[in-house]
Amino acid sequence: MSHRNGRIANPAISVAIRMEPVVEPVVQLTGVVAVVGGFPVLAGADLTVHRGEILLLRGPNGAGKTSLLRLCAGLLPVERGVATVLGHDLSVSRTAVRAFVGMLGHSNGLYADLTVTDNVRFWGATVGATDDEIAASLARMGLANRLADVPVSRLSAGQRRRTALACLVARRAQLWLLDEPHAGLDAAGRDELDATLREAAAAGATVMVASHELERAGALATRVVELGGGLVREVPMGGPA
């Protein structure tokens, strides 16, 4: 690891996206129903997301925010309706889309016994990231310091969240799906997260964020939708928060 002890001077260079192939719209859902354990978590959701958007999903607990993100990542089967993500029809195959999607769920997906660097290297390697790109991802989330060689099991919740975000950055995905990404992060971490997401969108990624922190995420978002009862409703910008 060449950058292990050094900091990257300009963090703004660090968010890179693998753009091939370019597809519009990035996400298109029509009447999508998804079922978990017999319960319809999505009850006929319609949604279109375009490239470069930062979309905020809001709504009460159990509205279907997490499920919508998991469906877009190809984790939930489409029971009814049509879901097309990055040009792939999810009813046909839920696997093809996955190489281009990065997801941060409630859990971090980290290996507790491995160090921060090990984790980021592993997740970066799943998309063939170079050493430089991995170092940049660590630096982007402020982890290119003494934390880099600490096992994840010894980190605080906020530091783990940062590590998971660094893994996500290293994946250079086209579609970023984040479930409550601000939860557990300290103030500096939140600022870095927001900056990272803006950079990603500017670089051509599409970002979908489910969040309870409406003020924070609302300032970040370019568009807001409201979920309720497994359905999606458009919220006009500048409308009631």
């Binding site: 190809g74 696997t95 996955r98 409630h106 491995l114 592993f122 998309v127 994946r171």
Partner: protein
């Protein structure tokens, strides 16, 4: 990424986790040695012990393997890493082969330690003509066990009651390995006057077993872990 590169990546990751956590060395190995000592208590007869030593080595391997498989998939499910691997579009075939490779390395270490335990505790003689057969047996049997362990471990990993489901599914399937590896090891060690030439047909069975479950697991793993 090709299947093979995923496999190497996943295997290296699993072995690094073991190198950092030492769960197998500090917990599974002592457990398997304890099993060997308990066999001696239960059988309570030196001649019998020497005679049944090959079977006991493989039986202890199977029991320890249950723990090993649970551990290999607990690592993946503890913080949602298996989900993340699925989202990341990591090829399931590569994931299967990688986890099986890491499992095989850990199993071989375990088996060698158990063989030494048999030499020390059960007065087993190793050496001479049977050594080639012995090494071949270990390689072939371990490969088959690693494939079956990964296959059923992956299936059970997302399930409620996985601790009880795994032995129910896995132990009947590995019975041919237990029989084949035991006979081949007996032949290699000359237990009961067996000669190495009697062991080679069993190697055929072990190789066939490993090939069938290796191929089947590579094809089916993606479906089995898709929760």
């Amino acid at each position: 990424m090709t299947t093979w590169r995923v496999a190497r990546l996943v295997a290296a990751k699993d072995l690094r986790i073991e190198a950092r956590s030492r769960v197998v060395v500090n917990q599974v190995l002592p457990f398997s040695l304890l099993v060997m000592v308990l066999f001696a208590f239960a059988l309570d007869n030196d001649t019998v012990l020497t005679r049944v030593a090959p079977g006991l080595v493989w039986l202890a391997t199977l029991f320890s393997m249950l723990v090993l498989v649970q551990r290999a998939f607990a690592v993946e499910t503890a913080d949602g890493a298996l989900d993340a691997l699925t989202v990341a579009g990591v090829r399931p075939s590569g994931l299967f082969l990688g986890k099986a490779m890491a499992m095989a390395v850990q199993l071989v270490v375990l088996e060698v330690v158990l063989l030494f335990a048999a030499i020390v505790l059960y007065k087993v003689d190793v050496g001479g003509a049977g050594i080639v057969l012995l090494v071949t047996t270990f390689v072939a049997a371990t490969t088959g066990l690693a494939f079956v362990g990964t296959l059923y471990g992956g299936l059970a990993s997302g399930a409620k009651g996985r601790e009880t489901l795994l032995p129910l599914l896995m132990l009947p399937v590995v019975a041919p390995v237990l029989i084949g590896a035991t006979r081949a090891t007996e032949a290699a060690l000359g237990t009961n006057g067996a000669s190495p030439s009697e062991g080679w047909p069993w190697i055929g069975l072990l190789v066939l077993f490993a090939a069938l479950f290796g191929a089947g697991g590579t094809l089916a793993f993606g479906t089995l872990i898709d929760a």
